[in-house]
């Protein structure tokens, strides 16, 4: 009979050390640049304060239940000895189809990490520049010239102008990337409790402290330029929060809100399904899942919602801020805000340094979470120890990141991965998870499993939400998303060789992961593991 019990697929089972630790690790995974840069732009462009209505709807009816489903499935799969999405989904979805679909749960964080650490290196680099004198923006020059200085610096730092740019000159960005990657690998290699958890337990509070400092500076800006009295903090807050209820009649607003919640909480990313798999049956997942989501919302609404656009408005006014929002998250974060910091007087560079250090912490707590699922998958599919799994990870990420840092022209390479893997596939993964949880594993069984060890009860009205509302919500958002974006994405791939190379890389990585899974299946069957979820997990020892 297959051993359906608490059987590990590799030696030395990993485990979190504390409950607050796993909550902060999951929250750290969720809190990233998007909280500070994407959220305010989305809100301002979609009704301001009125955006919060579809936003909270999406949180309650989509974000929170999908998060609960992931935590629950993860812990269940962990009890069967699996800590990666293929193994866990194979158990939940009862077979090979689910198992192979689960490869997306490894591919997504792995592929996204190729460019995420690159962006993280930008944050570290900008932090360093602000610590050592700023970006050279002349506040006495016309604003257009200041913006051009910031833009020129950014394009040079990230290699936007031409491929291979960063492998010449001062190698500055490359050096920052090497440091960033090394820090990530160091903490991931140290394991869950001594590496990721230990890091997140101080990084998250430190991030909050940095955010509070910047927030206080922004809220006390008053009216810096008496010749433009309308450009003040109150009007800056109003730019973001004054509601335009007409936006609620536009389906695009509801889609934007759902998309923001979705990407902000990091559901369907393959991370929660790994992180929570190290919990035991009697460890709560309901309150823990809700707490990590709430933590993410605090950062998003109170820091992202109060700092970014307010600061921009005070110095650049309506036109400048609208233009900044139109440039997207990275334009706002790396072009507009440097101009804003330059106007903050003698302490502007200090605030800039604190801001980019905070973004660096937000990014690294996310990138750590992107490496762990692959490590777990290599360990359990190939039967290698953590050291050897780390070597495989470093090799793959080295190639992926090298290509990302080489093909930097117009950001086509990494934004292709971001579109197809970091956006499109995440929708697929989230839908797959939710449908397997609610319809294959079964919603009643799923809720019973969620309530094992739970410190709070999931309200009864969530049963139909899990089964019907959330999947439907997700499918509608996905279809609308495809309708809006897929055509231009496909055209982009057809026209851009860098995009084709990016997709080729994704395909190669996918093939490698499929091979690992084939090897893993053989090993798991030989070890007597219950891959297809035919039996309940054995009771754990007290």
């Amino acid at each position: 009979m297959a051993d359906q019990g608490h059987h590990e697929t590799h030696t030395h089972p990993e485990r979190w050390a504390t409950r607050v630790g796993v909550i902060l690790a999951v929250a750290g995974s969720a809190v990233g640049l998007g909280n500070f840069l994407r959220f305010p732009g989305q809100a301002a462009a979609n009704g301001g304060g009125a955006f919060m209505i579809p936003y909270f709807c999406a949180l309650i009816f989509l974000g929170i239940p999908v998060g609960w489903a992931e935590w629950t499935m993860a812990r269940y799969g962990g009890r069967k000895g699996f800590h990666s999405a293929p193994g866990i989904l194979g158990v939940i979805g009862k077979g090979a189809i689910a198992r192979y679909l689960g490869i997306t749960g490894v591919l997504i964080p792995l592929a996204v990490s190729f460019y995420y650490t690159f962006i993280e290196a930008w944050c570290l680099g900008y932090f360093w520049h602000y610590l050592t004198g700023g970006l050279g923006i002349d506040v006495n020059a016309p604003v257009a010239e200041q913006a051009a200085t910031a833009s020129t610096f950014f394009n040079g730092f990230v290699g936007n102008d031409t491929n291979g740019l960063l492998f010449g000159g001062s190698y500055e960005t490359l050096i920052f990337w090497i440091i960033t990657f090394a820090i990530n690998i160091y903490f991931v290699f140290r394991g869950l409790s001594k590496g990721i958890e230990a890091f997140c337990r101080w990084a998250m509070p430190l991030m909050a402290v940095a955010a509070v400092i910047v927030l206080i500076r922004v809220l006390t800006l008053g009216t810096p330029d008496p010749s433009t009295p309308d450009q003040n903090v109150m009007n800056g807050l109003g730019y973001m929060w004054n509601p335009d209820f007409r936006a609620l009649a536009n389906p695009q607003t509801w889609l934007a809100a759902a998309g923001q919640i979705f990407f902000s909480i990091s559901i369907g990313f393959g991370i929660i399904i790994n992180y929570a798999s190290y919990l035991r049956k009697k460890d709560d997942v309901v309150l823990s899942g809700l707490t990590s989501t709430a933590t993410n919302e605090v950062f998003e609404v109170s820091f992202g919602g109060l700092i970014t656009l307010t600061a921009s408005f005070v110095f650049l006014g309506v036109t400048g801020t609208a233009a900044a929002v139109a440039t997207g998250s990275f334009g706002l974060g790396f072009n507009t805000l440097p101009v804003v910091f330059a106007h903050m007087g003698p302490f502007g560079n200090a605030i800039g340094a604190i801001w980019f250090f905070m973004l660096f912490l937000a990014a690294i707590t996310s990138s750590l979470s992107m490496y762990q699922p692959s490590l777990a998958f290599f360990q359990e599919s190939l039967g290698v120890n953590r050291a050897n799994a780390t070597k495989i990870l470093v090799a793959i990420c080295g190639i992926g990141s090298f290509l990302t840092i080489w093909f930097t022209k117009d950001s086509i390479f990494w934004s292709t991965i971001d579109s197809w893997v970091g956006t499109f596939l995440i929708f697929i993964m989230a839908m797959v998870q939710l449908i397997f949880f609610s319809w294959v594993f079964g919603i009643d069984r799923g809720l019973k499993e969620a309530h094992e060890g739970a410190e709070i009860r999931i309200p009864r009205f969530y049963r139909p939400i899990f089964k019907y509302v959330a999947p439907l919500y997700l499918i509608v958002v996905f279809i609308a998303f495809c309708y809006t974006n897929l055509g231009s994405w496909i055209d982009g791939v057809r026209q851009q060789p860098a995009a084709q190379i990016a997709l080729g890389l994704i395909l190669a990585v996918t093939i490698f992961l499929v091979v690992c899974l084939r090897i893993g299946e053989k090993r798991w069957r030989a070890a007597g593991l219950d891959l297809d979820g035919k039996f309940e997990p054995a009771e754990e020892e007290a």
Binding site: H12, W16, R19, G238, L287, A294, V301, G305
Partner: protein
């Protein structure tokens, strides 16, 4: 900022902070998870 803007701001901040504080208060009152064996693993 308009009155409606203030309302949305205050309600949103109160909601997220209220939820987070309630959650952490329950977490800290509740039990902890079993710590791991003292090894790096792998």
């Amino acid at each position: 900022m308009t009155t409606a803007g203030w309302i949305f701001l205050v309600v949103s901040l109160t909601s997220v902070w209220g939820l987070a504080i309630w959650c952490y208060a329950r977490v800290l009152r509740g039990g902890d998870i079993e710590p791991p064996p003292d090894s790096l693993g792998g």
